[in-house]
């Protein structure tokens, strides 16, 4: 069996938070997450705010030091010693195009910085050429390298961020909500850019977003997160059409559909209550307080991911087969 590009097992990221005088509670942002990604594949990671998806992305890249768990890239375990080497293969594109670019640097400097850090050129001219080709790869042109980030629109800035990530020629990119802050008409441009680059360069993506439409479009497989754990993983179409976890089902039904007839005819599952605070995760299954199919066992034991259909894993004691 070919090895996975990226293998994450039992990733945990806990943050100590002061909750009182001399009192600390653990914020379990990520509490035991496992998944794999293959070469050239896109895994979508969805969930609502507070589910820990952004933290997964950052822990993966060791921007936070993981509390527990193993991350293997090409079969090699990543730790504090060898992470620098891996930075050339694993990159990231951030959500906010307004704060992820240094306002005092020109575009040429921003895109060229990774080249400088990893010494990826021998002469000035070579660096210049690489910067220009990166800009053109994402749909900008060489005139832009002398300008400053604030002169560009949100979509263009996001392209600059992508060019910067591509400078080190990575194999894998963590896309942390890369289109959420953009206008609808620009989102499509950037989504297409990601698609084209994936085809051209054989990139693998961890595509983190809260908009299921976008994630469904981009990903081969999707993992749904709730309060720090993955509750369901399946092929994208199955998540949308055959969701088995009660949370996934209500998530799918809650999404507004841009189609008036379907909107009128569909049956909505509207969840009661709010997402519990990650400081105070309910025992057993974290979703049980809002679940209409909860049973006693749900309060006692935390469900693990089990494969209920080929390639379709669900963490639930009482999964509902969709009609």
């Amino acid at each position: 069996m070919a090895e996975h590009l990226l293998e994450v097992k039992g990733l945990k990221q806990h943050f100590p938070i002061k909750t009182g005088f001399m009192k600390k509670t653990m914020l379990k942002a990520v509490d035991g997450v496992s998944f794999t990604i293959d070469r050239g594949e896109t895994l979508g990671l969805v969930g609502e705010s507070g589910c820990g998806k952004t933290t997964v992305g950052r822990s993966l890249l060791r921007l936070y030091k993981p509390t527990a768990g193993s991350i293997k890239y090409h079969g090699q375990e990543i730790d504090d010693q060898n992470i620098q080497g891996f930075r050339k293969q694993m990159q990231v594109v951030f959500q906010d195009p307004y704060s992820s670019l240094n306002p005092r640097m020109t575009v040429g400097d921003i895109v060229g910085e990774p080249l400088d850090i990893h010494k990826l050129y021998k002469t000035e001219k070579e660096r210049e050429q690489k910067v220009v080709s990166l800009l053109e790869l994402v749909g900008l042109n060489s005139d832009h390298k002398r300008r400053y980030a604030h002169e560009f629109s949100g979509g263009q800035r996001q392209r600059i961020g992508i060019a910067r990530a591509l400078a080190v020629d990575p194999e894998f990119i963590v896309c942390d909500e890369p289109v959420s802050a953009l206008d609808v008409s620009i989102q499509a441009q950037i989504i297409n850019t990601f698609d084209e680059l994936q085809q051209k360069l054989g990139l693998a993506y961890l595509f983190i977003a809260h908009d299921l439409h976008v994630v469904h479009h981009m990903s081969r497989r999707i993992a749904v997160m709730y309060l720090g754990k993955i509750v369901e993983t399946a092929v994208a179409d199955d998540i949308i059409n055959l969701p088995m976890h009660p949370y996934t089902q209500s998530l799918i039904s809650a999404i507004p559909i841009p189609d008036p007839k379907q909107a009128r005819e569909r049956h909505r599952i509207v969840l009661q209550g709010e997402v519990p605070s990650p400081l105070n995760v309910p025992s057993g299954c974290a979703f049980r307080n809002r679940c209409r199919w909860r049973q006693d066992i749900c309060a006692e034991q935390t469900p693990e991911l089990r494969e209920l259909a080929p390639g379709h894993e669900v963490a639930c004691w009482n999964p509902q087969m969709p009609k």
Binding site: V184, S185, N192, H210, L212, P256, D259, A263, E274
Partner: protein, 334 residues
């Protein structure tokens, strides 16, 4: 047929800045009937929020309305003196904003803020105002309302705060509720709750709603009539079915083509090229022309007028004139 509740006629709003005049709204017209939901769709810079603020006259200084009329129950509220305008705000026309985190005052309790709205516009005393506040909290589905009255905004979640905002807006039973991106900052499951709540309240209280958003899904769910805005102008207006199934403006078509839908196969999206228009340098002619695949020479020089496609549907796009002309010509020659 009764007169519409609200009529906006040829509204122009502008912000003078160091770098020039930002023309946020450039001549829009629409009307709102009692008990209906009107959706205003547009992206950032389209002028939809500025329109709402213009109606309530809560524009940020130095913005101002430079032209046009806004008729509420036959009175032009752009010309009202300030004290009379204040009587309309909150009691006849209310607004709820996008970010529930920042729209509630963090140093006052929820009850305090609710009662402020009530006591400003009605003659209730403190006791009665508190009862009414409790009523409103129950109406909007806030659990443990008595406890919530004494809590501060930071103690509530996003969805809860948005409900409180809705309670504040509806406390005086306004005729019109303006909702400016009310669910954009909320999670999807909470969004569903809030939208359902708004539908319920609309049916119960019979108010009209202006729903401002960029989310086409929300628009499809909630709205009877829709206007699509771009660069401060109305591109297209019509019923929800007309706009979604028979779009006639190139911008609307572009928007509908560019959103990923879960039901389609994974073909490449067709985005709208180019970047949003710079409101400081408004071009002549149609503001969308530079990004439009079917732009014609006339689009660059003359602003299109609204062309009636059918009684429920009008679009401001020269392509419709051309298509109409060619269709007629074809009929004649055939």
């Amino acid at each position: 047929m009764s007169q519409p509740l609200l009529q906006v006629k040829n509204l122009h709003t502008m912000f003078p800045t160091e770098s020039g005049e930002v023309r946020a709204v450039n001549g829009i017209n629409f009307s709102l009937e009692r008990g209906k939901v009107l959706g205003i769709v547009g992206e950032s810079g389209s002028g939809k929020s500025v329109t709402a603020y213009s109606i309530l006259r809560i524009l940020d200084n130095p913005g101002r309305i430079t032209q046009g009329e806004i008729l509420f129950e036959e009175t032009d509220i752009t010309k009202l003196p300030r004290n009379q305008m204040r009587q309309i705000r909150g009691s006849k026309i209310s607004i709820i904003f996008q970010d529930p985190m920042t729209s509630l005052n963090p140093v006052y309790t929820v009850g305090n803020q609710l009662m402020e709205a009530i006591r400003l516009h009605t003659s209730r005393n403190r006791q009665q105002a508190q009862e009414r506040a409790l009523e409103m909290l129950e109406l909007v589905g806030v659990n443990e309302p008595k406890k919530r009255l004494k809590q501060y905004p930071y103690q509530l979640s996003g969805g809860m705060r948005q409900r409180v905002m809705i309670a504040m807006a509806l406390a005086c039973e306004p005729d019109i509720l303006i909702a400016d991106e009310p669910t954009t900052a909320l999670d999807v499951t909470i969004q569903a709750q809030i939208l359902e709540l708004m539908q319920e309240l609309k049916n119960k209280l019979g108010m009209a709603i202006i729903m401002i958003t960029h989310d086409l899904g929300v628009i499809a769910e909630m709205c009877d009539e829709i206007i699509v805005m771009y660069a401060g102008r109305v591109c297209e207006r019509g019923t929800a079915d007309e706009i979604f199934y028979n779009p006639r403006h190139e911008y609307t078509k572009g928007l509908l083509r560019s959103i990923p839908k879960m039901t389609t196969t994974k073909e490449r999206l067709t985005p709208i090229g180019g970047s949003p228009v710079d409101l400081l340098n408004m071009p002549k002619g149609c503001a969308f022309a530079a990004r439009c695949d079917r732009a014609m020479k006339i689009c660059l020089t003359e602003q299109p007028e609204e062309i009636e496609i059918n009684p429920d549907h009008r679009a401001a796009c020269w392509v419709n004139v051309k298509e109409g002309a060619l269709a007629q010509g074809g009929q004649n020659n055939g």
